[in-house]
Each structure stands twice: as structure tokens, then as C-alpha cells.
């Protein structure tokens, strides 16, 4: 198993020191592609500029496993979301990624919105989703008793689900690495020189040669594309700020509560998380800075105002976290996935606000495109099964598991009290196939330090464990 973080890149590849395929970007999309590649007898590299997988847009979204009911009918995105949802739901069941099928309600707050519901139901039908149903004010109120006053009705989408956004790319990466994919972190691609044989990537850790190339660089996919001489799309970041409310708020919200979409996009939702919190967000702000993942006073005010209308009592609850993610908008209402056979290259750009859901379907789709660029995929082999540590509240957590604790008291030793994370889980994460290299990385793998006190109680203890394992 190969995960590297520093030093020159290994050149134990083929005779010419060349990988068969390299995937640039280890977000949820890049890791899903790498996992598909891992099925084949190929020398595959997955490189990322950051010190962790899933450290870009993939760590900061609303974590919904979409049905795709509201996609643009006939688009590539609509198809990949629909397929990706089923693939990921099955994969989650197999690997232990937490998913909860809570269902969504598109709540109509005025007559115009109410009148828009049948059209949205028809659109869902055109997207192959047939379970959507319009419900009246009374049924809505009994389903969501804490909803603010004035809701007139809703479109119910019973299959919308919430999923763990961190375990998903981690499962993909873990499985890929265990099947032989090389993961190189802290490895930023700065330049690309291509000849008839191969691409030579200039990276922050030295040169890397690869015959085929997949660009899954998220917000920077346009820049990688330009290094290959294209000028097809430009990624502009669309920021989404979010507020996470404490787990004690979870009882206030049963479904994913969506606004009826207007011209301004999907709008601000209130949704449960698999960790047992409640999310409020995201905003939608067009920016030009791809690093602007900060929150703003205006953004937070706007969220609180919107949230107050939807679930007034939510605003009295403690806030656990505030964060922002950047969607990769390209000015086109679809993904920008394109193969270039002459360059042995596939661009996977513009994976906007549905990439978590679509990731596995994108992975499969890219396999087809890579074959079209002349990559000999050979007969696929089964991947080694993986079981991910459970971070979800709806599934058994170690601190409640008497048998597990009897076998190893470390699972009965709580370190992070707010999130009930045990010493055993922290130890396991620190020695896992794709270990964390920062406290935030450890938090995404275990939730340690991610609770309401944000480290008042456990911060120093968690840091001590981390530094002991990774000096």
C-alpha cells in the first residue's frame, strides 16, 4: 500500500518510470475514479495538492444523497446523479458509510410556490423519479411540527437521503490504495508537458510521468485543462456558507426541508445530518477567489433570517460549526466531462452541486471515456472489501457496544465527550490505510473535536494523541 506525503515521487513504475493513469485531484470525484481504476491491472496514481483526500469542496457540502428529481432533464448530470445515487446507496450499505433516508419536503410558503409544485412533480417524473407526492398543509404540519407558521403545502420526495460526506471519499481512497493505487499527497500539479508517449507532470514534489491523465481538480479543473492547451470552460466559485446546529436540535427537523426553487437556484435548506446535527444553508455567492472559503457576517445573517422562517426554534439552539464550500460553476447547467483521445486525457470539470451523489457514476462514466482514449482496461477484478468506521448516529457507535469494549477497553474510553469518540476510534484512524495528517483530518475521520464544545474539554487531549502518533 502506497501513500506518500513528502519527498520525491517513487519511480518504481514501469521501465520508463511511467504510470498508466494518473488522476489529478483526490476529492470525492477523483477518489471515485481512482477506485474504478483500481479494478484493473494498471499502474495508477492519485495525486492531490493538499495533505489529505477530500480536502477541497468535498469536505464542505450539504451531504445530501440526491434523487436527482430536480435535475435538468436529459442532461449528463441528471443521468449520473440518478445512477450515482443507486450506486452510492448500495456501496454505503456494503461498506458502512452512514446514510439515512429521511426524505425531503419542498415547502411552499405562498400561493405562487404552491402552484409551482405540480410542475416540479412533473419534472421529477421526467427525471425518472416517480415517488414524488404533493401533500397539504395539515399533513405537512404533522410531519414537521416545528415548521414556522404559514406553510401551505409541500412536494414530498421520500427517497432524498443524507450521507456522511467524509467517509465516502475516504472509503473510495482506502479501497483504491489497498488495491494498489499510489496516493501522493502534498503533490500539486504545476505544469504539464505532453508528447506522443506520455504526459510529464511537474509537481511540487518533482516530475511524474503518466500515459493517461484524468483531471478531477475540482475548482482548478479549468487550470489543469489549460495546461493541456484547452480553453473550453472557466470555473467560477459559488460559495455556500452553512451553519451546523447542535445535536440537541435534531428533534426539531425530520426531513430535508427545501425551499421551492426560484430563479436564484436551489436556495437555503434545513436538513438533518447523519451525525445527528441540523444544517442550515447554503448561501449562493458568485466569487472570483477560489480560496474564499471563509464565512461572512452578511452570509450568517441571511442564513439566520431564512432559518428563522423555516424552523423558528432552531435559532435558539447552540451553533456547533460554521463553514463554507465552493461549488465549481462553469456557466453551463451541466457537468463538463470531455475525453481527448489524441491526448489520452479526460477532463472532469464543472462537477457542481451534486458531485457527492454522482461520484460513483462519474467514476464509471470516466472508465468508458478512458477506454476511448486507448487505455487498455483489461478484465476487471473484484476490489478488496472495506468496512468503514461508523460516524453516524443512526448506527451503532463503539461507545455503546458492550462486546467491542469487552474485547478492547479503548472503545470504552471516551476522549471527545460531545461526540462520544473513543480512544479506540482515534487510535484506529491514526493507523488507518489513509491516515490523517492534521487535526481536521482526524476530525473528519472520527468527529473528535467536532462537537459543541469545539475542544474546550478534549482539544488538548486529542492533540496530544495526534502528535504522539504523527510527530
Amino acid at each position: 500500500m502506497t501513500v506518500t506525503l513528502t519527498g520525491p515521487l517513487p519511480s518504481e513504475q514501469d521501465a520508463e518510470g511511467t504510470y498508466d493513469v494518473t488522476v489529478v485531484g483526490a476529492g470525492v470525484v477523483g477518489t471515485a475514479i481512482a477506485r474504478e481504476l483500481a479494478r484493473h491491472r494498471l499502474r495508477t496514481a492519485l495525486v492531490d495538492a493538499s495533505d489529505d483526500i477530500g480536502n477541497g469542496t468535498s469536505k464542505a457540502n450539504t451531504a445530501i444523497l440526491h434523487t436527482g428529481f430536480d435535475a435538468v432533464p436529459g442532461s449528463l448530470e441528471a443521468r449520473l446523479v440518478r445512477e450515482g445515487r443507486d450506486l452510492l446507496a448500495d456501496y454505503a450499505a456494503e461498506t458502512g458509510i452512514p446514510v439515512e433516508r429521511v426524505g425531503a419536503l419542498l415547502v411552499a410558503w405562498d400561493e405562487d410556490q404552491l402552484a409551482a409544485l405540480p410542475g416540479l412533480r412533473d419534472k421529477a417524473e421526467r427525471n425518472g423519479y416517480h415517488a414524488a407526492r404533493i401533500i397539504g398543509a395539515d399533513e405537512l404540519r404533522s410531519a414537521e411540527p416545528h415548521l414556522g407558521p404559514g406553510a401551505l403545502g409541500a412536494l414530498e420526495i421520500p427517497d432524498e437521503s443524507v450521507i456522511c460526506p467524509w467517509t465516502t471519499p475516504l472509503a473510495f481512497a482506502t479501497q483504491a490504495v489497498r488495491a494498489g493505487v499510489h496516493l501522493h499527497l502534498n503533490c500539486r500539479v504545476q505544469d504539464i508537458a505532453s508528447d506522443a508517449e506520455a504526459h510529464t507532470l511537474t509537481t511540487s514534489r518533482g516530475p511524474l510521468r503518466t500515459r493517461h491523465l484524468v483531471n478531477a481538480a475540482g475548482l482548478y479543473a479549468d487550470e489543469i485543462d489549460r495546461l493541456l492547451g484547452h480553453d473550453v470552460f472557466t470555473v467560477t466559485p459559488r460559495r455556500g456558507q452553512l451553519i451546523v446546529f447542535d445535536k440537541l436540535a435534531r428533534g426539531l427537523v425530520g426531513h430535508i426541508l427545501l425551499p421551492v426553487p426560484g430563479p436564484a437556484g436551489k436556495g437555503v435548506l434545513v436538513a438533518p445530518t447523519v451525525f445527528g446535527n441540523v444544517l442550515l444553508g447554503p448561501t449562493a455567492e458568485e466569487l472570483d477567489d477560489k480560496t474564499a472559503t471563509g464565512s461572512t457576517a452578511d452570509g450568517l445573517d441571511l442564513l439566520r433570517e431564512k432559518g428563522h422562517r423555516v424552523v423558528p426554534a432552531l435559532l435558539d439552539e447552540e451553533v456547533t460549526a460554521v463553514y463554507a464550500g465552493l461549488r465549481a460553476a462553469t456557466g453551463q447547467e451541466d457537468y463538463r466531462i470531455q475525453e481527448y483521445p489524441e491526448l489520452r486525457y479526460v477532463a472532469v470539470g464543472g462537477i457542481r452541486s451534486t458531485g457527492l451523489t454522482a461520484s460513483m457514476a462519474i467514476g464509471r462514466h470516466v472508465m468508458g471515456l478512458l477506454a476511448a482514449t486507448g487505455l487498455d482496461l483489461t478484465e476487471p477484478r473484484p476490489l478488496p472489501p472495506v468496512t468503514m468506521p461508523n460516524l453516524g448516529e443512526a448506527y451503532p457507535r463503539p461507545y455503546r457496544d458492550a462486546d467491542l469494549i469487552a474485547g478492547d477497553p479503548a472503545y470504552g474510553t471516551l476522549v471527545c465527550h460531545c461526540e462520544q469518540v473513543t480512544l479506540g476510534e482515534i487510535r484506529d484512524a491514526l493507523s488507518s490505510t489513509v491516515p490523517p495528517h492534521s487535526l481536521d483530518g482526524l476530525r473528519r475521520r472520527t468527529r473528535a473535536r467536532g462537537g459543541r464544545c469545539q475542544g474546550f474539554y478534549c482539544g488538548a487531549a486529542v492533540r496530544a494523541l495526534f502528535e504522539e502518533a504523527r510527530p
Binding site: T320, Y399, I405, C453, Q454, G455, A461
Partner: protein, 423 residues
């Protein structure tokens, strides 16, 4: 879960000053099997990592009068937090209380039955009386809705003190401390001890006539934190002054102090009524919560007071608990809520006691949201005035002030809530 089930007479959750004092007092009074559970590996609560003096020293007037009525196991004169913590633990053990550390109460399995997790497994413990003494914590950056990036180098005092005093971790080089309450000054002391230069102490409150200690640190008053900057590591704290000026203080560390919130999770998970002001369990002068047989003491009731105050509450809870065990307690449910109008923030206790019982020290504790110079406090119920009292000094945010309790026997037990307003 499957696991063992046990019975005790009194179960105390939390081994801070309040829980340990309650355990010591109850065990000494022959309450039977008194067990204290603490989720940390070491008992003692917050004082374990407060390496400054000022613990258990001379008490304020009325509290002191109250304390001398019960024989205090604590030394007179201030001592350091860790010493205070060790003494409190020894007092509880000497009195015969059982103390189990590394054991977390994770939830409820009945009205007075808790579920626990520890290295020895999961358990259910049923008690005849439960005392919640789970303490309080400071609100972190996220809960304060401070916008900006999410760099490393952002602390609460609790985390800072543990990092420095318990783990000897490196902190940074230049720090800003937000909050001018006593705990902010404790943070300054800890930073200094860790060799960190303290750039400034910042508060959104207007300047005070009399300043606290920390003469070497500039105090910026009437300044609100508007954001944090920095990518992986903090690079600055942006401020807006009341006159509209904005500045950014360059630093790699910020400590957000004060703004305490009771650790009420367990109370709330058990469906125990909370007070909207304190955010701790609603309680009366006998430390009774809304659930019969479940009591609460210490900072879980009202966020932060001095350790000795929490310990006093711990000792005081023993009497009503003993009544409960003996079956001589008053029937619950008679208390009226006591509520405050803005700008008052909260009052404690916030339910009137059984049969006009007076709170500890014969007075209620209050806090205000903004400075009030010599306010007139008016107590009324259903439009009927019960009491008025002029304070002799200013009430300031972050510090307790008091209201005499001699009106409690005039409360109509069938009336609505008692209101307190400041004029």
C-alpha cells in the same frame, strides 16, 4: 447495549467542585451508597487546569455566612486550582463517597437510572436520588458566530489551560484575548506562562471606571471581533470599534473567553425543564429540577461562578437530597417560575422554593446583558409588587449581583410567574 445494572442511593454526575462537595457531604451524613461518576481520567473538574490562585479563598459576605453554618472541609485562604481539586477529591473519598473516573454518563434509562460507558463496559445505574453536577463551558468561536476563515490557533480558555498546564503543548507567539471577565485574565496568565506575548485584551463592553489586573496588557474596550483571518494558521483578529473604526490585530493565537453555557446536555436529554435565561436546568431553592429525585448543583445551573460557590451549592444540595431519601421532602410542582425582563439576562434559582424556602445565602443571583448603574430591581407577580430594591453599585455583564430573597413567602403559589425587572 447490554451490560450490568446496579443500584446506589445517590448518584452524582460530575466530579468538579460541586459534585465532589455534594458527595462528601452526603457520604458524611450517612446517605448510604454515594457514587460520583467523572468522565475525565482525573477528578476535580475545571480547577484541575486552573494553575492560578484564588480557589476556595475568603467568601463573599452572605455566602460565607452560609458556609460557616456547615463545617467546610476546605482550607481557608486561596490556593491554586490543582491543589483545590486534589483537596476536594480527598474530602469526598475521606467522607466515604465512591468515585469512579473515566466513566461517562451517556444517557438515561429511566427517571433516575443512567447509562454509562467506561473501559470496564457499559452499565445502568439506578439511584434513589441523582445530582447533576456537570459544570459549564465557554462558547467556542462557532457558537459566537465569528465569521472569517477557519485557521488553527483559536482557543477557549478551557482548551488553552489544558494544553499548557496539563499537556505542555506549544501555543504560539502572539495572542489576542477576547473577554475582560476574570477568566479572560486567567487566560492572559496562562499565555504568559507559556511564553506567548499577549497583544491585547479585547472587550465589546464600554470602558469601566475601575480596571481589573493585567497591567501589562493593553485593554481595548468597546471593540467587537468581526472576523478571523489566516489560511492554515491564524494571522489576525479583525475588530470594529464603537466609533466605526476598524483594525486588524496581527496574531497567531486568539483565546475566546467567558460566554459560559451550562453543560446541560444530560439534563435536556432526560427531558428536564431548562430555564430560558441560564440555559441550565430550572431549579428551586432546594436544587430540585423538574423531575422528582433529580437535583442539580454548581455551574450547570447558572454557568460560571467561583469554584467555592459551586462547592457550597454541592454541600447545600445534601439537605434536600437527604429529605428525599428519608421521604420527608415537599411534594414537587408547587414552585412558580421566576423570570427576568431584558436587559437582565438571568436569575438563579429560577423557580420559587417549596413553602417559600430561601435560596442559599438568602439571595438570588442575577446577571445583566449590559451595564446598569445602580438599578432599581422590582419583583412582581400578576401585577402585584412584591419587593423593590436599589443596588448600591453598578451591575456589569459577566459578573453576578444579588437580590434579597425576603419576598419569597409573599409569592402566590397559584399565581403565574414572578417577574423581575430593572429600572
Amino acid at each position: 447495549m447490554t451490560g450490568h445494572a446496579r443500584d446506589v442511593d445517590v448518584l452524582i454526575v460530575g466530579a468538579g467542585p460541586a459534585g465532589l462537595a455534594a458527595g462528601a457531604e452526603l457520604a458524611a451524613a450517612g446517605a448510604g451508597r454515594v457514587e460520583i461518576l467523572e468522565r475525565e481520567q482525573e477528578a476535580g473538574g475545571v480547577p484541575r487546569h486552573c494553575c492560578h490562585g484564588g480557589f476556595g479563598g475568603r467568601l463573599e459576605r452572605a455566602a460565607h455566612a452560609w458556609a460557616s453554618a456547615t463545617a467546610s472541609a476546605y482550607a481557608q485562604g486561596g490556593t491554586s486550582g490543582p491543589v483545590y481539586a486534589r483537596r476536594s477529591v480527598a474530602a469526598a473519598l475521606d467522607a466515604g463517597a465512591e468515585l469512579r473516573t473515566g466513566v461517562t454518563v451517556t444517557g438515561w434509562a429511566g427517571p433516575r437510572t443512567v447509562e454509562t460507558t467506561g473501559p470496564a463496559g457499559v452499565e445502568r445505574i439506578a439511584a434513589r436520588a441523582v445530582v447533576l453536577a456537570t459544570g459549564a463551558r465557554e462558547r467556542p468561536r462557532s457558537a459566537r458566530l465569528i465569521p472569517g476563515t477557519r485557521p488553527a490557533g483559536v482557543y477557549t480558555t478551557g482548551e488553552l489551560q489544558q494544553a499548557v498546564h496539563l499537556y505542555g503543548q506549544r501555543i504560539g507567539t502572539r495572542a489576542v484575548v477576547v473577554g475582560d471577565e476574570p477568566v479572560g485574565h486567567a487566560a492572559v496568565a496562562t499565555l504568559r506562562a507559556a511564553g506567548v506575548h499577549v497583544v491585547a485584551l479585547v472587550t465589546d463592553q464600554p470602558p469601566r471606571p475601575v480596571r481589573l489586573r493585567s497591567p501589562h496588557t493593553p485593554l481595548l474596550t468597546a471593540a467587537t471581533v468581526t472576523g478571523l483571518t489566516g489560511r492554515t494558521r491564524l494571522s489576525g483578529v479583525a475588530l470594529r470599534h464603537d466609533d466605526g473604526r476598524t483594525t486588524t490585530l496581527r496574531c497567531d493565537t486568539v483565546v475566546l473567553t467567558g460566554d459560559f453555557v451550562p453543560d446541560h446536555e444530560l439534563a435536556r436529554r432526560g427531558g428536564i425543564l431548562l430555564d430560558p435565561g441560564t440555559r441550565g436546568p430550572a431549579y428551586d431553592a432546594a436544587f430540585r429540577t423538574s423531575r422528582p429525585g433529580v437535583f442539580a448543583a454548581g455551574n450547570v445551573l447558572h454557568a460560571v461562578e467561583r469554584a467555592e460557590f459551586a462547592a457550597q451549592e454541592g454541600r447545600a444540595v445534601a439537605v434536600p437530597v437527604l429529605h428525599r431519601l428519608a421521604g420527608t421532602d415537599e411534594p414537587a410542582g408547587g414552585g412558580r417560575p421566576v423570570v427576568v425582563d431584558a436587559p437582565l439576562r438571568w436569575i438563579a434559582p429560577n423557580v420559587t422554593g417549596p413553602d417559600g424556602a430561601r435560596p442559599q445565602g438568602d439571595r438570588f443571583v442575577l446577571r445583566t446583558m449590559r451595564r446598569l448603574s445602580r438599578p432599581l430591581l422590582v419583583v412582581s407577580q400578576d401585577g402585584r409588587e412584591l419587593h423593590r430594591q436599589r443596588l448600591l453599585s453598578a451591575a456589569v455583564p459577566g459578573r453576578p449581583f444579588h437580590l434579597a430573597a425576603d419576598w419569597t413567602d409573599h409569592v402566590d403559589p397559584h399565581g403565574t410567574a414572578v417577574r423581575i425587572r430593572a429600572q
